[in-house]
């Protein structure tokens, strides 16, 4: 009885090879890092102890925290809007199926790979040294990482749309910008909204880590609570942040569905 392959000969060999390579890389890494799983299991016992220590809330911090959340939100929102505009522009230059120039596309992708690789401390340094302490610096620092993230995700979404619509618009002789505005943006808008949601969250949590360059907001409050080992306050603030984020996510999902299923 003749055997009938479901995958072509070559691709089976390739898949096996791929699995082997991936496996080898993983085991090499495990060997290298020297993970002591035994220790890990033993210490799992600590989980309840540590968590129970965190199980306290202190409502006296709430008004203060609310005020600071406004700052964080305002900063995150402002950065978001500017970042979305910049990233849209850049991502259409960088997405391989619509990029006007291949080399420019590669340059943009590479440039943002580099931008993303630079640690926030370095950005902090450069921003403070040129702009001084304060919200302006916070704005720029978040902006850099937000543009990096959005450019990456937008580009990926555009590249996933395939070429049908682009072809149809090209065939009418529409220019690059018109193809994007009338064809790709309506097509990608739900994906974009999704990334924008994620980016907004990242912005808020990034503004939390921005104490380093003197940006106020909820992050500063949180760092202080941690540094003074005030567990009750820490927990309260974290709960507030999570609540805020869940609300934001709900709103954004509503918005996304509206765009996806609503009228043109």
């Amino acid at each position: 009885m003749e055997h009938i392959r479901v995958t072509s000969k070559g691709s089976v060999g390739k898949s096996i090879l791929l699995v082997l390579i991936l496996g080898a890389v993983f085991f090499a890494a495990v060997k290298l890092i020297n993970l002591d799983m035994q220790k890990f299991y033993e210490r799992l016992e600590n989980v309840p102890v540590v968590l129970s220590r965190m199980m306290a809330v202190d409502f006296s911090i709430v008004p203060d925290a609310l005020l600071n959340i406004v700052t964080s939100l305002a900063l995150a929102l402002l950065t978001l809007v500017v970042a979305v505009f910049l990233a849209m522009f850049l991502s259409f230059l960088a997405a391989s199926n619509i990029a006007p120039n291949r080399y420019l596309a590669i340059f943009i992708k590479g440039f943002f790979a580099i931008i993303r690789s630079v640690p926030s401390l370095v950005w902090g340094l450069m921003v403070i040294a040129s702009l001084g302490f304060g919200n302006v610096s916070g704005f720029v620092a978040i902006l850099i990482s937000a543009v990096g993230y959005l450019t990456k995700t937008f580009t990926a979404s555009i590249e996933e749309t395939g070429s049908e619509i682009i072809e149809a618009m090209k065939a009418t002789g529409a220019s690059w910008f018109k193809i994007i505005y009338h064809g790709l943006i309506p097509l990608c808008i739900t994906a974009f909204v999704a990334w924008i949601t994620v980016c907004f969250e990242t912005n808020v949590s990034e503004s939390i880590g921005l104490g380093i360059i003197g940006v106020g907001g909820i992050g500063l409050l949180l760092t202080q609570a941690i540094n003074t080992y005030n567990y009750a306050q820490t927990t309260t603030i974290v709960i507030m942040i999570c609540l805020l984020m869940v609300v934001l996510e709900l709103v954004m999902t509503k918005m996304k569905n509206k765009i996806k299923f609503g009228n043109s």
């Binding site: 401390l121 340094l125 040129s130 500063l220 540094n227 080992y229």
Partner: protein, 280 residues
């Protein structure tokens, strides 16, 4: 106002607090100090919370920052890079800052500094005064070590870890990830107070010399009379609530700092070759 312009004073003053191993409360949330300085000097004062000395020092150098709270090492760097000068130091009676060498209470093998030889040890990180430079200096002086080899495995310690924070060092010791560590005493106290660890979980087997308090430093290129006015403003600040909240002692005050206040420290840092790179 009119007279600030005449004297060539800056129109506003930027002040940055740094979180400090020894008093984590040094926070910018208390507006009292800012208001006081502003009133005394007649100019606007902006206060921020910093997170990194490097950032603060670069800001001093570029003129975006005027006054900053700095540890000895940072002062030295700020002085080299930005010509910063010492201004005032918060003085708290009866409280001394030093770094303790700690190990677990039930560790029978380590009872004094000598026993650290051949053990696993943790510093905080290579840029930390209290978590690295001071304890390393103490070890180098006490055991006559080669400062450049201390971190090498098998030279004095079996292995050296950089834990990246004081609490990390403490937890690593408590969990047995390394045998001993150097931790700022202020941090230990805070952790005990918060109940994270207990007094009798660990023992102190040695300590460094006293580390001078973190001081406010000021940009050197400001007018002399402004710096003096600033110093006076700090010294005349007597808000007990502020000192209670930030330094845990209502009677604490700012006192003017002599320019040679940090010299012993700097000598010690020099002895362990910690300064060669910055000296250029």
């Amino acid at each position: 106002s009119a007279d600030t312009a005449n004297k060539g004073w800056p129109e506003e003053l930027t002040l940055v607090q740094m979180p400090n191993e020894n008093n984590p409360n040094a926070a910018s949330m208390h507006t009292a100090l800012r208001d006081h300085l502003s009133k005394e000097l007649g100019i606007e004062v902006k206060e921020f919370e910093g997170g990194s000395y490097a950032v603060g020092i670069e800001a001093l150098a570029s003129g975006n920052l005027d006054v900053m709270l700095a540890s000895p090492m940072s002062y030295y760097q700020a002085n080299q890079l930005a010509g910063a000068e010492l201004l005032v130091t918060p003085q708290v009676e009866g409280y001394e800052y030093y770094t303790a060498f700690i190990t677990k209470k039930d560790n029978k093998e380590i009872n004094n500094m000598e026993d650290l030889k051949g053990k696993n040890f943790a510093f905080v990180n290579a840029a930390s005064s209290s978590g690295y430079l001071y304890p390393k200096g103490t070890l180098v002086q006490e055991f006559n070590l080669d400062p450049d080899s201390v971190e090498q495995s098998g030279y004095f310690f079996e292995n050296v870890t950089f834990s990246e924070s004081h609490p990390n060092s403490v937890m690593g010791v408590m969990m047995g990830d390394f045998d001993a560590a150097a931790v700022a005493i202020g941090q230990l106290d805070s952790m005990i107070e918060a109940g994270t660890i207990k007094e009798d979980d660990f023992k102190i087997i040695g300590q460094t010399q006293n580390i001078p308090d973190a001081s406010y430093i000021v940009r050197g290129d400001l007018p002399e009379d402004f710096k003096n006015a600033l110093k006076d403003a700090f010294v005349s600040f007597e808000d007990e609530k502020y000192f209670e909240a930030v330094h845990n002692d209502p009677k604490a005050r700012f006192i003017a700092t002599e320019q040679d206040y940090y010299d012993p420290t700097i000598e010690m840092l020099d002895a362990i070759n910690a300064l060669e790179e910055e000296a250029k």
